[in-house]
Amino acid sequence: MKRKRVSYARYGYFFCIPFAVAFLIFSLYPIIYTMLIGFTDLKGLGTTNIHFLSNDIFKNFKTILNNNSFQTAFGNTWKMWIINFVPQIVLALLLAAWFTDTRSKINGQGFFKVVFYLPNIITAATVAILFAAFFGHPMGPVNDIFTSLGWSEKPIYFLRSKSVAQGVIEFIQFWQWYGYTMIVLVSGILGISPEIFEAAEVDGSNRVQTFFYVTLPNLKTILLFSLVTSLIGGLQMFDIPQLFIAKQGPDNATLTTSVFIYNQAFSGSYLYNRAAAASVIMFIIICIASACLFIALRDKEEIELHKLKKKQEKAYRLSMKQAKKGGNA
């Protein structure tokens, strides 16, 4: 029996080899290579020879951290993520609580879910250009609505304003993702044992109380999942800021770190070393964020089981040892 198991084990390796090989070539090697480039003088189109910096090995990192554009980009990325995420999670929670309310059933839920999720599947590049057209000057749809309603006499050049430019991107992110977050939260709430809700209702708690004392505490893991995945996605924001306004608007209003990295490496200056250094900085931040998620999502039961198994093995070995000792004596 034991022998048979050993003979099948090699298929475990076989089946996982394609994944491992593809990962080594297309992910691990590029990651290490990117990190190395961060310490070199690699720049210029078509250059592939790399030399490590001899004077100050961390020069690229220092340059990047002191670079005004990078600082702006970094600040913008966080700002735009936070301003889109807070209303997004609040609205998603509200809708999820409504859609799972046991006391009054909401008709047409299926339809609403489909419609709210729709913006998420649409190409972000298309959405960026569509919204840029909406805020066009002098005669975009938004200006048309403003003048028709008498809110403004003359057409407004919206995207010349830093806060409007950022606000529109925040809105797009919010608009594309609240439906997704809502569906995730709905399935999270449906996963909570219904008995808890029944008990709360019997105890006479109203909707608001049920939400704050029953639903929210039980959603902790799912909320963390939403937070971290949204953060990682938000830190990589590229398509929309890249295409929304040419040259990222007034004062680099919509410059994000991903766009910064792209501009450093692939548009004009070909400063691969600096782009790589910026990538490594982002990589470290994302690693910290994922580590939080990884720790939270681990199969807790399985880890316990594994620990128990190891303990048993240890006890078994110990008893064997003692038995041997006893035999010798």
């Binding site: 996982c16 394609p18 990190m35 592939t48 649409i122 972000a124 890249q242």
Partner: protein
């Protein structure tokens, strides 16, 4: 009396819910409605009134202007189809294979390998792009679509999902009895495990396809030859100076890139919504 007041708050509650939901529905659909309607209107009409719900008759004229320049939606469509299909097939087949290796067999580094898969799940392609580009450039494979397809073989998040789905769905007794009947391991995977995994494969395939279809960053870096442009890169051309004042054509170009997605969504929305819900709930 008590039930009456309860009923009344319930009615008020329902009104609030429906007002918010209908408002959000309009918010979701309005931008696309304007886009589609404006793609049938002339630039002059759009300049007079950019918002209209009444289609006009300039669709073909807009199309002629659109296709007369560098925007080639059909080529972009074909390239996107090739890349997205290839990457999706690679991702679902090899992810299921890896999950099968993790679920069915007992091997020494299985646990560490799975922890590793989970650890790398969140690594984004963007932060590794500089190294990836340099590697691809060195072996002269920029503009080769394989460089956008083959990396999908290693899709850690999908492996994680497939494993979670496979553990309850695939009973090891079936595998065992197939072995007794003399089936080879690869045969068992292809003929027994894959069909059992069909529902999971379907939902994951939809997401992989949409993600690849919408991907802008990697193709933008790797594909420099306009023969290879994918749909999102084609879209970015609409932003350039060549279409500056051709509003109708810009809206039409945007519509053409969105239409395939909307049609697919109309047919598959049920599965997509179910897939989103399923993906979030762990095992």
């Amino acid at each position: 009396m008590k039930t009456k007041s309860k009923k009344r708050t319930s009615v008020g509650f329902m009104i609030v819910v429906y007002v918010v939901c209908i408002f959000l529905t309009i918010l979701s659909l309005f931008p696309f409605t304007i886009m589609i309607v404006n793609s049938t209107r002339s630039t002059y009409q759009i300049q007079q009134h950019a918002v209209s719900l009444v289609p006009s008759t300039f669709l073909l004229k807009n199309m002629a202007i659109l296709l007369g320049k560098s925007f080639n939606p059909f080529r972009g469509f074909m390239n996107s189809i090739i890349i997205s299909t290839g990457a999706t097939l690679c991702a679902v087949y090899f992810s299921t294979l890896t999950a099968y290796g993790l679920v069915v067999y007992d091997w020494r580094f299985k646990r560490s390998f799975f922890s590793f898969v989970m650890a790398i799940m969140m690594i984004p392609t963007q932060v590794t792009m500089i190294g990836f580009y340099q590697m691809v450039y060195k072996i002269h494979m920029t503009n080769n679509m394989l460089m956008l397809i083959l990396p999908a073989i290693a899709s850690p998040a999908m492996v994680f999902f497939m494993r979670q789905y496979m553990i309850p769905a695939l009973s090891l007794e079936i595998v065992q009895s197939a072995r007794i009947d003399g089936a080879k391991e690869f045969f068992i995977f292809n003929r027994i495990a894959l069909p059992i995994m069909k529902p999971a494969i379907a939902t994951q395939a939809i997401f992989a396809f949409v993600t690849n279809w919408n991907n802008l960053f990697v193709p933008l870096v790797l594909l420099t030859d306009n023969k290879n442009y994918t749909m999102p890169i084609m879209v970015s051309l609409l932003k350039g100076d060549i279409y500056k004042t051709e509003y109708g054509s810009i809206y039409l170009g945007l519509t053409l890139t969105v239409l395939p997605l909307i049609i697919v969504y109309l047919f598959l929305s049920k599965y997509i919504i179910a897939g989103v819900a399923l993906g979030s709930v762990k095992g």
